[in-house]
Amino acid sequence: MPVETIGSAPSHSPEDTENPGGIGTLNEMMDSPAETRDNRHPSPTGHALERTAQFLQERADRLQKRAVNKAHEEALNEYQSRDREGYADHMQALSSAANPNDEQREYATNRLVDERDAAHTEALKEYRERDRDDYIDHLAQLADNDNTNEASREFGQKELNREDRIESRRETREKAGRALRRFGRSALDRLMNAGLITAGMGILAAEATAGGVRSLREAHATRKSNAEASKAARKASAEAERERKRTEANAERQNRATAAAERRNKRRTSWAANRRRLGRFGRRTRAAGRAAKEAWKSFEDQI
């Protein structure tokens, strides 16, 4: 039986003779004038290809845009570092230009705001370093002035609080420094009076005489090295002692906890035993009571 030739039904096989170009020429086919006469739906394979191609194209566009933006950002940063005023003017012009591109305008406005904030912060920092008392007066006025806006008053108060904290820490450090110096001074006086310490002058004077200043410096360098080793050994020993005490204290706590747990377990065991004993006693008592009631009832009946 001869195979009936099927009419020219759509076929998407790569071997399709009606589309000799096959898959590789999909885009060309889409662009060709014949497309307008081609009312076939894409096959699953073609559809997947279209989606993939579209995705790849969009991704390439995004990467391109990102690369352009990055290059633009770097160029702006270089501009900013090279000529700050020119840069600020440029951002100002960009933000206020009759530019149909809202994204660019918004970007420029944001950078301008950032730039103004940064410039303001730097100006305040310079003011503070130049004349701190005057700067603090300025903050106090800012915080108390009813004619300024809320944000400025809050800023002034926040910075005043911060300056108070800095001042307080500085005073505490100075007080601690004075205390430390007093301790050191007291120790030096006692030991020097007792002749127990030296600046090394006596011991090393002979070397200085014999070998000159260089020899004295070398001698002091050696003493310094020995002193640092001694200090390090002392610290290590103190740390080892602290660790030993910590270990002992932990062991002691552990022992106390174990002993307390044992006592608690003994109590609980004892209570449970008591409850059982009382339970048996209670049952016997109740049984005896019931028996007594029965006996009395029986007696009453007899009577």
Binding site: L180, F183, A187, R223, A227, S230, R234
Partner: protein, 104 residues
């Protein structure tokens, strides 16, 4: 009470340090203050919290003699601590004596 500073002009001369034309007195004072502060810091490091609290209270109310006596009794390695700090500081001065001379 001996209030003689440990680091003196003569000592700096031995190191070959010359501070002509500069504020020599301030520099020597700074070295002595640094030494005292370091010794004090080591002393406080060697004390536990209770001892440190006691010393700080004594520091506010007591005399220098009382503070010194307390430290003497409660810091067993006081002599070694003090001598080590002296040697370390003088070693630093010796190492940097050229830079000190060249500094303006």
């Amino acid at each position: 009470m001996n209030n003689q500073p440990l680091i003196t002009r003569e000592l700096l001369d031995q190191f070959g340090i010359s501070l002509e034309g500069r504020d020599e007195a301030s520099f020597i004072q700074h070295l002595n203050d640094t030494l005292e502060e370091r010794i004090g810091a080591e002393i406080t490091e060697s004390l536990d919290d209770e001892q440190l609290k006691t010393l700080l209270e004594l520091q506010e109310k007591g005399s220098d003699e009382e503070v010194g006596a307390w430290i003497d009794q409660n810091v067993p390695e006081l002599q070694q601590i003090t001598q080590d700090e002296i040697d370390i500081l003088l070693g630093e001065v010796a190492e940097n004596s050229d830079e000190i001379n060249e500094a303006e």
